[in-house]
Symmetry: C2
Subunit: 366 residues, 2 copies
Amino acid sequence: MKNIMEKSRIILGLSIVLSLSSACRVFRTHAEENALILKTQGSFAVGGTQKKEPGTFNLNDALKPAGQTYHGDHAHVFYQIPVRSKRYPLIFLHGAGQSRKTWETTPDGRDGFQNLFLRKGFGVYLLDQPRRAAAGRSMAAANLAPVADEQFWFTQFRIGNYPEYFPGVQFPKDSAALEQFYRQMTPNTGPFDASIISDAISSLVDKIGGGILVTHSQGGGPGWNTAIKNDKVKAIVAYEPYSGFVFPKGELPEPIKSTGLFGALNGTEIPLSEFKALTKLPIIIYYGDNIAKEPTITWNKDHWRSGLEMAKKWAAAINKHGGDAQVVHLPEIGIRGNTHFLFSDLNNVQVADLLSDWLKEKALVQ
Amino acid sequence: MKNIMEKSRIILGLSIVLSLSSACRVFRTHAEENALILKTQGSFAVGGTQKKEPGTFNLNDALKPAGQTYHGDHAHVFYQIPVRSKRYPLIFLHGAGQSRKTWETTPDGRDGFQNLFLRKGFGVYLLDQPRRAAAGRSMAAANLAPVADEQFWFTQFRIGNYPEYFPGVQFPKDSAALEQFYRQMTPNTGPFDASIISDAISSLVDKIGGGILVTHSQGGGPGWNTAIKNDKVKAIVAYEPYSGFVFPKGELPEPIKSTGLFGALNGTEIPLSEFKALTKLPIIIYYGDNIAKEPTITWNKDHWRSGLEMAKKWAAAINKHGGDAQVVHLPEIGIRGNTHFLFSDLNNVQVADLLSDWLKEKALVQ
């Protein structure tokens, strides 16, 4: 009988071990099932410079700048690392007039790329670029004024031609969401400087030992600059870059004329030796919908036509020199209605899946 | 024998259930043990106003303000809710020249109050107040300039009398930490306006159905204002408030003279009916070390002496009208060396424990 007890214990013992993992899951609540489980999170300043005023600091005249220092032009970084995270984290850089908010909750309250990629197991680093938001201490002065411009941005960012929404646009139609979208803008506290931004991001990449850059719009240029400066950038994902395209000396394309409100789009020449850095890592660029195929007087559609065309020329130049750059125009693969903010659009889960599939394809997800 | 088998199964079955919770814990890795487990996190804008320029928006002249809108003066809120969170979340409001960064990682890389209170099970709402950081769209203009002032702040915030550190100060002595501390400042993008700030926080409190306000320094005044406007503020915790103390009409104390660089400290008269709102909730105020007991020419110690004295008069006025306000001067309970940033000082775990003990004492932790 002792023998039978023993056997019974062994069988049950085995079943305990085998079922423990699922049993633990059963014991969790639904809330815990959907939980974000973070190994750690935190923030820091990175990059930047400082100045010291001539003279000696006088404790008895302490509001006088003499001898005092000022640190500025750093980026601010907020990071979150899930447990059992992928090898390379994603480093997110916003575009013009934006901050790390770009990647947080969408205007209508859904998960942005911050949460979506945490759930996929990626570490995320969200930047406020130098001279923006929490990284507001700028080495250069700025005058800020409340200029009414939101109907311009509505149109420029291809939600529609104000007040019309584009048919089938992937942007929520309620006024509360539009208000949230407008309120996520925040001003430059100093002039935009792509070089200062890429210096700060390069310092970040050194600090964390490598990462994948995800840029938006005006962030595109600082993104390429960072990869040129630092070979620990493992890949670049650029959503709708417009400016900052660099070409090897002698290979600069003609400016692309546009009825867009910023006029013709120019590339910039750099030495081939620098350009070659861009051939050493995979690069993917995504553009959304409602971008003209041919020149048009509809200025928003034409603005982004010039960006898309320049991006294609740029990718071709990289590939010609042995690189791996790809431009994906979403409507061409059947994904329609995306605005300039693809990653917070109504179909942003699909947009995120596209990206994670590409990262897997490039063997960047371990 | 069948009977014995049954008993054996029941006993083992019971032990499975009883030990499952600890077994699950054993199966977790060390990293998971220290993990932050969040039910959800996200961000949004709250409060604020808007304007519309006269005229009609013209799509063909879209850079002209006519007919366009501008939304500003909202707060930006980033929130995180742990699984099984306490009933009331903590709403964190930074002080002058700061942002939500105040509550994130400390200058030397340790957990700030954001992580410490998440680990204690509190939901946290981190504010960028209107006209600051990610909430930078201001309804009023601002001119920003890089004025060297960091040795002033070092001294004003009682790290020491620059370049000397106070003996035993709870601030890390390495230059990297000091640099991080300097870089967490970020400028006003419009004039400071306590009323606009409390309007935004009051909207937040309405939206989330109640919370406990935790303010720092200049945030103190907007904190009291919020509680006067909104009875869903369940408690106020103020770290080193200086300005914004309000008194019932006829009970205003004399200005407190000081050699501090902002001169004498005044309270403000408000109707008793408004003041009474402050008697309906528990309030606690903490001050750190190196604050003078008697008037002195050491201006930083004397500046905070005037703040501490006014806080005591204010708490006495609240208690006289039936309220529950308490001022804790940390050295008096044996906690020494704290700067103006008590919650990120080297002993911030102790400072956090003090706060959570007080919240329990006031039955605010369920």
